[in-house]
Structure formats: C-alpha cells, structure tokens
Amino acid sequence: MAVTLADHLRALPDEELAALIALRPDLVMPVPGDISALAVRAQSRLSVARSLDALDRFTLEVLDAVRVTRDPQTATTSVEAVLLLTGEGGVDKTRVREALGRLRELAIIYGSDATLHLSDGVDDVCSPYPSGLGRPADELSPAAAALVSDAARLRRTLLAAPPAARAVLDRLAAGPPIGTANRAVLNDPDSDSPVRWLVTRHLLVPTGGDTVELPREISLLLRRETGPLGELHPTPPEVDAPVREISAADRAGAGQAMEAVRNAEALAEALAADPAPILRSGGLGVRELRRLARAIGLTEPDAALLLEVAYAAGLLGESGGETGDAVVLPAAGYDTWRIGTLAQRWTRLAQAWLLMTRMPSLVGQRDDRERLLPALSNDVERVGAPAQRRAILGVLADLPPGTAPTPDDLRSVLAWRAPRRMGRAAASAGYDAALSEAATLGFTGLGALTSYARWLLAEVDAADRADPDADPLGIGPDEPPSRALEALDALLPAPVDHVLVQTDLTVVVPGPPEPGLAGELALVADAESPSVYRVTPDSVRRALDSGYVAADLHALFQRRSRTPVPQALTYLVDDVSRRHGGLRVGSAGAYLRGDDEALLAEVLADRRLAMLSLRRLAPTVLISPYAPARLLAALREAGYSPVPEDATGAAVLSRPRSPRAPARPAAPSRRIEDPRNQPRLTPARLAGIVEQLRRGDAATRAARRAPTTVRSQPGSAGLAGAQAHAQAMAVLQQALRDKARVWVGYVDAHGATNSRLVRPVSMGAGYLRAEDERTEMLHTFALHRITAAVPEESPSP
C-alpha cells in the first residue's frame, strides 16, 4: 500500500525527526503548521534540489538506481532491487547501503526495505534520464517495444549495425540517451546516415523535433561491459600529485604570507598618503587601482585582492574626504592591526578572506554590458564565494600533508563531492580563483596546503560548529591559543630592533623591523625596498622638522646601528641641520622701519603703543600683527610722525582730503519737451507696434474660427479616418500650390489632438513643412499624424 511522506514523517520518533530537520534546516523556515505541511515542503523542488546539491556523485548514482528500479505501477522499489542492479556494476553492497542510508536520513527516500518510496520532488529536479538511460521502449513506440521484446531479433539487428551506426549507439548508451539529428536527413529515404539506419530499424526512436532517443532496454543490453548503471564511482578520484616536503611548503607559504602582510600595509600607507576617491557608482576606478598597484609594486589583480581582503578585515574604510567626495582610506582598525605580530596580522587577513562574500578575481573583468567591474563595488559581491573557498581548501586539507595537486585534480575531487554544484563553468572559475588567491595570500606554498593554514581551517571550522548559545555572555574560559598562529609564528622571522648603516647612506634592516624602529625609520629615511632605507637630505630635514635635533639623530643612528656610523652620514646630518631653520617664515600685519635705531627702540619701549604688539625683527625693523592704517593712527596719536610706504618702499604722501561719495551721473542738462515726462515713440517703432497688433489680432480671430473638422474629437462622427486623411492631403496639395494658409489638425507625440494655422512650404518624404506666421516658426508634421486640413477661408459650419 502507498505510504505518503507525511505518514512516514509522522511515524518517525522525535529524535529522528529532529535529525532530519538538522540536516535540512530550510524545512522549518518558517516552522510549518503541521507534519503534512512539513512533508509538502520537504518535497518541494527547491528543498529537494538543495538537499541533492550537497550529495556526492556515488550517492546520486545510487539515487539513480532507485529511480531506475522503481516499479512503474506502484512507484516503489526495494533495497534488494537496488543492490542487485548496483551489484552488477561490481560495487560493494555496504557502500550502497551507506548511500541509501544517507538518502533516507534526508528523507529523499523512505519506507521499508521492501517498499522504498522516492520523495516526490526528485524527478522534477533530476535529469529525466536516470543513469543516462532512456525511457522503456513501450513508452516510446510500439515498433521499438516489439523489437526489444524479441531478444533474438534485437541481437541480430544490433550485430548488423554498420560501424558508424554502432558508434552512435555506443555513445547514446553511455548516456545521455538523447541525440539530435537533422530531420531532413531522417526523412530522406536515400540518406545513408547512421542515425537514419538506426531509426528505420527502431533502435532509435524519434521523439519529436529533431531528437532521437535510445530505448532503455537497448542501453542496458549495450552496457554489458560497464554494468547496467554505467560506470559507478563509489570512491573519489585518486589524486596523483607530487608531494612536497612539508617544511619547504611551509617556508614558501610563510614567505608569501609575509609578503601579503607587508603589501597590505603598503597598500594602507599608500591610501593614507593619498586616499582613493570612490566612483559615483561605487568602488574604486581602474585608474585608482592601477595607481595603487604601481605604488606597492603589485599586479592589478593582486592589488585588487589585497584591497578587498584589507577592506573585509576592517583595515580600510570610507570617509567623506576633504572635498566632500567619498574616499577609501585606512580605518581605525588599521592602527591596532599594524602593531600586532606578523602572524597575528596574517591571521586577521586570512580569516577575512575565508569569510568575505566577495570575489576579487572579478575586478577588472567586464560584465554583460561590457562595463569594467571596479574593486570594492557591489558588482563583485558573490554570496557563494566563502563556500567555494572552503570547499576547495577542504579538498586540499583532506589530502596527505605536502601534496601539491593541480587545480584540475582538485576540481575532479570536488566534482565527485558535489557534482551538482560543480556543473557550472562560472563555479569552476570561482574555484580556480580561490586557489590562486590562496597561493597569493600564503595559504599554500609550492602548491601544497601549509601546516598553519591547515590549523587555521580547522579552527574556523570549529568556530562554525560551536554552539553560539553555549556561552551567550562570553564569560566562558578564554579561547585556547591558536595553533595556526603558533605554527606561523615559528616560521616567520622575529622582528629586529637594529640596522646596518653604510657609507652609501643606506640603512639595511636585516628582517622585519619592530614597530618602534619602523616608526623611526619612516621618519629619518626613505624606504628604497622592503629592507633598505636611504638617508637623504630630505629625510633628515623631515626628521628635523618633526622635532629631532642633530644630536638626537646622531644618537638614534648610534643606538640602532650594529655597525659604526659612517662619517658621511654624520656629515650629512650636520650639514642639513646647520642649514635647517636658516630662513624663517612668519606673518605680520604691518612693519615699521627706520634708520634711527634709537627711535625704533623708543617706539618699542613706548607704553602707549603696547597694544600694537610690536616685535623687533632687526635693529631697524619692527613688526605688528595689525594693519598699517591702525599702526599709523596709533603712532600719530602718540606723537610720532610715521610715513606709509608702498610695496616698492617708496613713501606714500597724501594731502588730507574731505570725504566724498563716489561719482554719480549728473542730472540731464537738456529739458524734456513733454512736461508729463511720457516716453516718446519714434514713427518707426509706432509702425512696428501697429503691425504687430494687427497680426496678433488676425491670428486670434483665426484661432477662434478654427473649423470643427480640424478640432476633431476622438470617436466623433464624420468622414471615415482614411477618407478624411486623403481629403486633408488634397487640401494641403492645393494650399501648397496656392501658398494659402490652412488649418491643420494633427495628433502630437503625446497622442493629443491639436490644430494649427499654417502656410505649407513643402511636402514630401512623409513630412509636411509649414510656416506658422504667428510664431514665425517652421513646423514639420509627419503626414500620418495629420487628421484633417481645412483651408483658412472655408466657412465654419
């Protein structure tokens, strides 16, 4: 008897039902009303597809076996039948049972071993040809059914097949069982096409259109070698890849990891020096990316990767910027990140990369509209990216340590693990990108997963699995120290606190500088390459500007250098510091100068002038922050006799003048004739005004007379449309010849009906050009839009 999935679920003990929900959480989002609703949802296409996507190739092959062995009447099968069929393919029974167990857990199949039911949605989301087998012959055509029912005849027919036809058969038998054939060829009795040969002998059945299908029975017969289900894949493909010494891989990876950290820092510094503007459409433009890439000496794809990772790790952020346009620049988190150890910094970047839902490899590519995808824009957002990364690194992690497989190897394993996900080409590109990014960031070294990355993946997995409710207040014991961090720390060089100073004024840091040293070096020297700095006059001046004095610099080099400080450096520092501050710049409102030093001294000492805040620059020069006028006034008040001077130093002497307002036009000298002061109109203007009035009047009157035929209402009775149009054309032709004015009724671009009094100028190419005398404009009407035309003088009805 038929058992529904709802019945089955209802009968399940609570824990098994909970287990199913744990495996398929989408079933309870939102929680369904009852078990029936749950069953309906469990058989929906979407939910079934989601469950099947996670299954490996072998389990899907067993699912196909279940579908193939279904009884056409009851739609059920049995474990026995499935085992029998897969057994012919030479697969271990326990493996098949395991696969069936997985399908049962997911409620893809249910029921007793003797009557296995298949969940409803499966047929909808799977290929209609399970195991690449076509439909049974009796579903396809009676002739084919007759053929397959006669085993001897079928064998004879097959043996008689010419080689080309046999090749077609073999290909279709391997699945999928569908082929396309040119219909013309199929119907051509003279054709010697192999497909036609097969069709006429009912080995292939045309199924409408130009497709042909191989009946299931014939496929099974032809699959004697491989088994009825075709080749089965109970185990993932073997990866035959070189094995690296794990320490070598670790070192290469650590080198790369160090690079990634250093470049991320360089990127942030480049952005700090010159924040990158954000495009109006979001993200960083190509030119900005190119600039950053050049600044840190990376290729653009690598720069894009680091940019995205640093952003995801919270090292970069957006801000309004100085001009109000948004810019990307280091975020507050950058400063805390920067003081961490190399390993800590790398771990932060690595975690951000693993979890970020972005695909940096898309940056710089073009979308469907041939638009370049900018970095940090929404266009490179891909929710599936983290899963892809975890999947491909997961495959790598499951291989023995040190294995360095090719991307193809990894993809073939992935294709076994989740064939339904790997099907798409875009997905496969995503996996390749994830691998190359892993290499760039130092997850892998020499193509093998490094030991610290292996730890990191395990830690991230553990964090994922951890019950978020276990310690809601975060007061539990501290997290155990990260093994990934320790492993990487052991590989990376310890920070150094000393340098080697050389005669050519280079300063070599033999390792990653500790933060204090890095800060000092950034100030007193220019970086030439990651480990080499150069002291230049500019860099010394920069240090002096920020408050160092020559003695400090000497002491600094003395303290930090493991080698004697070269004489050239000492000279350079002294030379620059000697000249440093040799010129001083300040601002003043006015100066006071005079040859008489005693007089200036007197002014400076004068208490009455204290409010001028005078300061002596030189024996003969005083300055004040106030404007010259105030200085003059105050000095004169105090009884001195100062003289102002201009920019060239010449004295500006002026006699006192009575204050006057600016000049304004004098009153007209000629009397106007008209005592009422009315404007006078010239005869020419008068004539013009009259003409204008007349023309306007005529137009208004004419407008009032616009004939109703022209002011047509939609649907109004009158001449039939076509006839009216023909008549209008005739009127227009006549008017054109007579140079007469016509009322033209037309439908404008908005579908409204309008009319206009115009004088036709020309007609042709589907357009009427006519002059409107009122507005003195030339109008162009599409002839098909003209609904009516009436001569001006025509009597209005």
Binding site: E259, R262, L492, D504, P530, S531, T563, P566, Q567, A568
Partner: protein, 547 residues
C-alpha cells in the same frame, strides 16, 4: 628558520650580509645569476633581472639550481611567487634556438611550438622569418640573425644562438709568456668566452682587459678587428699586443682619423666608424674588408648606437665584449646581450683588488669653504652657471697644491672638466695640460714622460676619462666633473687603480666647494664609490692646508 646571509626581497633584490660566515659561499652561489648592484661595506645588493637569469641559463645554470641557492642561503622564508617567477623567466631562454639546418641553413627551432607560433605572429618579427621547414622550425634569413635576436629578446623569448661561427681567415697568433703569464682570472675569462663562442667579459679598470683580448686572439688564431674608444687607447692596445703576443709591428694596423691601415689585426676607433659623410657611414667597408675571425669591442658600455646596427650584421663572427660595467647610461643592456652576447665572465672589483691585481684606493673628499666673495658670486649666478662657478672656484687651487705637495714623489694626475680651470691649475702647479685640443703626438710625449717619471704632475681634461694607461699614477685629484656622472667617477678612479710597482696605496681626492651644488654632485658620484665598496672620508680643506 636558518640563519643564512641572504635576504631575498620581493622586489627581486638580494641583500648579502658580507660579515656573515657563509657570505663567501653565498656569493659564489648567486653570482652566476644575480647582478651585483652595489657593494658598500656591510650589505651587498644583488638584483635578479631577466637578463641576469638568462645569462645564467646561457652559462648552463638551470632554474632549480637558482631556486636552490636562494632557499639555501636565505635567512627568511622566500616568497613563493618570486620562486615561481624565477623559474618561469629562466624557462623562457632557449625555448627558441637559432641553429644551422643541414639543408635549410639558418633556422629558428622551437622546443615549444606555442612559443614559435606566438613570436611568428608578432609584428616585430615581420620579414625576418622565412618559410616554415616543419611545425617547429622556421627558416631565418641569415642577414637577420642579429635583428631577430634583438626582437626576440624584446618579446621576452631570448633565442639561444647555436648557429656557430665562421672561422674567418686564419692567422697565427700566440701569447709570448716569457716571464709573465695570464692571471688566473684572465685565463678563466678567456676560457669562458671561448666556450660560449661570443659574449662579454666584465672586469674592473686596471684588471687587464687587454690581456683577455689577447688571450682570446691566441685562441682564435684568426684575423681580428679590435674596436676601441679613441686613438690613444688604440695605441695602448697595439703596445700591449706587441709586447705580449707573437704579433709584429707589420701585422697590426691602425684605422683611425689619421691612418687607414687594414692588416691581419686592425685596431679601429668608434669615432672613425661612426663618422659620416653626407649622411652615410663611409667606413663600413672595414667590417667586410677581411674575413675577420674575431671582433673585439673595448668598453662595451660606451658602444655607440650605430655600431650596434653594424654588429647585427656580424652575427656569424665571434664577438668579444670587454667592459668594466654592464650598466649603460642609455639602458641598452638588452642590445649588448642579444648582439654581442651574454655575460661570460664577471669578477667583483674588491675580489680582484684583494688578489692584489689592482691597487687599493683611499678616497677622500676635501671640502673647501668658498670666500665670502665667491659665495656671493655663486649665490647670484644663473642656475646653469652655478656648477661651473662652484667647481672652478679659485679657492681650490691652494688646496690642490697642498695635496700635490703632500704626495711629493708620487705621480699625480689632476683631473678637471673646465679648460680655463685646467690652465689655472697648470700655471699654479707648474705642470703641463693634456686636453682635447692637444695633438696626439704631444699627448703621447707627455704620457711617455709621465710614465717614465720625468714628469710628476699632469693636468688632464675629460680626455683622461678613457683608456689611458698611466700605471704609475698613484694619486688622482679631481677638481671638477661632468655633473654627477657615475661612469666618469668609475673611469677616473680606474686611472689610479693600476697596480704600482711597489704596491703603494693609491689616493683619490675630490675637491669640492662646501654648501654648493658641487657638494651635491660629489655626493652623487661618491655614492657610486661607496656602492663599489670604497669607503671615503671627508676632510676639511683647512686640515689639508695646515698639514
């Protein structure tokens, strides 16, 4: 983590800590493929360049050995990407080979068909390739051998030239090693060159490059064309060849502005070859005047552009380049590689100095304080006049005199760039001047007198920058130069680096005006000296005058 002497940086520079116990072994391991960029006292900088890696490939090193050397000596983890890049770059050399096909003559062969297809499509190769011989072989017009190599190098697929050389017209030449013999490094240089067929030998000034040339000629035993920078250098070659080889006066010809002799061994100057009449090079026939078996290029780093063009047509002849540095100020290192050949031998200056073949030099910068008057004149001078003002300050004269007096008994060269100043110096020091306008005969006379010790002080202009062998000069004083030219500095230093009969210390003084642009230029030039490992000290003029 190992504690190696090498820091490998991702910008492809290698920092070698010279005081490290493994430094020597490391230097030996990386020298074949990395170019020594600078060698100040503590940390030497090497650079990995495509040319350097290809030079190494040409010398038979493979990518694995390079990667191994980097990993073995590196102090810190080496970025994976750099190793991949090294391997990929090296792998590009030799994918294409020029070879002699038994029936089709000169052909380009590919071990990688895709590369051949890629380059064949390039527009740069248009017209150079002939008919396809088979899928992996294309015929090459023999006249395009040089240009093809140039173009392929630009495309990043340098071809290995295995097409061999013509023997040229045989001529007996041998070294007459009576009481002397080639130094070990000279012998190594000759052997490496001969094994490689064509290429460049890099040796410092004074290390006896001429003898490497003579050694190569003795191997070739064929007519030889020697290209030198100027007539004086030509005479020097002649003198050396007469003294050290079986060649006689009649066998060596001089082809210069003054004489046009073509003999089994002909020495020609770049100048005469590149001189034009009516826009055409009139002396090109020299290259085909004889069936030369060997062409020697002296001072390859100065090779003028037209000579490259002629050299492109000489690819079937053995070519030996001699130079102190592969660095060209015009950046045409690639042309040297493709047209003359890969580097065949290289020895760092300091090593040769340590072996005692060149004199150790002590470099000193003497800072002169200008008088108040000179300072004002300098301060208000036009920008383009400033260097001249500072460099030719009269205040320098007594200082120069003091230095000359201090080295009384030594052979002193005073080097300057401004003729007026040279004449002032000549008067002040009572020493003759050699300058551009001095006739070759007069020059020879003065140089001979100097060599003989009859003349202890000589004032020379820019002509002294090149190829004059004045082995007894122990002191060089430069008072002015061509702005900050590093090359000039190297050449001038080279004047005093010839080993002295009594192993005396050589002295190299630079007199600069304090707080002027002269100091800046001097700093630029001295950076070069420091990078070559010559520590220099700075002293005040007053200390010199009072001493």
């Amino acid at each position: 983590m190992t504690d190696g002497p090498l820091i490998v940086q991702s910008d492809k520079t290698l920092l070698l800590e010279v005081d490290h116990p493994d430094a020597g072994a490391c230097r030996m391991a990386i020298a074949p493929f990395a170019e020594l960029e600078r060698s100040p006292e503590h940390v030497h900088t090497y650079r990995l360049t495509p040319l350097g890696l290809w030079n190494a490939r040409a010398a038979g090193h493979d990518a694995e050995s390079v990667v191994d050397a980097l990993l073995r000596f590196s102090r810190y983890p080496v970025p994976h990407a750099l190793l991949v890049d090294v391997a990929e770059t090296m792998d590009r050399y030799g994918r294409l080979q020029l070879a002699n096909h038994p029936t089709h003559g000169l052909v380009l062969q590919a071990s990688d068909r895709a590369v051949l297809i890629e380059v064949a499509k390039s527009k740069k190769l248009a017209g150079m390739l002939g008919a396809k011989v088979d899928a992996d072989t294309v015929a090459v017009h023999p006249s395009e051998r040089g240009r093809l190599k140039q173009a392929l190098l630009k495309l990043g697929w340098p071809a290995e030239d295995l097409a061999g050389y013509v023997d040229g017209e045989a001529h007996p030449i041998s070294l007459t090693e009576d009481g002397w013999s080639l130094r070990s490094y000279q012998r190594e240089a000759v052997d490496s060159f001969w094994a490689g067929g064509s290429g460049v030998v890099v040796l410092p000034c004074g290390a006896g490059k001429t003898m490497v040339g003579a050694g190569a000629m003795a191997e070739a035993k064929a007519t030889t064309l020697i290209l030198v920078t100027n007539t004086v250098a030509g005479h020097q070659w002649k003198r050396e060849l007469l003294a050290r080889t079986s060649l006689t006066e009649d066998e060596i010809g001089e082809y210069s502005g003054e004489r046009k002799e073509i003999r089994p061994v002909t020495i020609a100057t770049y100048q005469v070859l590149t001189s034009r009449r009516g826009g055409a090079f009139t002396h090109l026939d020299l290259f085909s005047a004889r069936d030369w078996g060997l062409v020697i290029y002296d001072e390859v780093h100065l090779l003028p552009a037209p000579i490259f063009r002629f050299t492109a047509d000489l690819q079937a002849r053995r070519r030996l380049g001699l130079t102190a540095t592969l660095v060209r100020e015009d950046g045409r290192e690639g042309d040297v590689f493709s047209l003359i050949g890969p580097k065949r031998y290289d020895a760092p200056w300091k090593d040769i100095e340590a072996q005692g073949w060149i004199a150790p030099a002590d470099c000193t910068e003497v800072r002169v304080t200008l008088t108040e008057e000179e300072r004002m004149a300098y301060a208000t001078a036009e920008p383009e006049e400033r260097y001249r003002m500072a460099a030719t300050a009269r205040t320098k004269l007594p200082v120069v005199k003091a230095i000359v007096d201090k080295h009384a008994g030594d052979q002193v060269l005073v080097i300057g760039a401004y003729i007026d100043q040279l004449h002032q110096l000549s008067e002040y020091l009572d020493a003759p001047v050699v300058q551009g306008a001095t006739t070759t005969k007069e020059r020879e006379r003065l140089f001979d007198a100097f060599r003989a010790g009859e003349l202890s002080t000589l004032v020379i202009s820019r002509v002294g920058n090149f190829s004059i062998d004045l082995p007894e000069a122990a002191v060089a004083i430069q008072v002015s130069g061509t702005y900050g030219s590093r090359q000039e500095e190297a050449q001038r230093l080279g004047r005093v680096l010839r080993p002295k009969a009594d192993g005396r210390q050589a002295h190299f003084y630079t007199v600069v005006a304090r707080d002027t642009i002269d100091t800046e230029y001097a700093a630029h030039r001295q950076r070069f000296l420091a990078e070559q490992g010559y520590a220099y000290s700075i002293v005040d003029a007053d200390d010199v005058l009072s001493a």
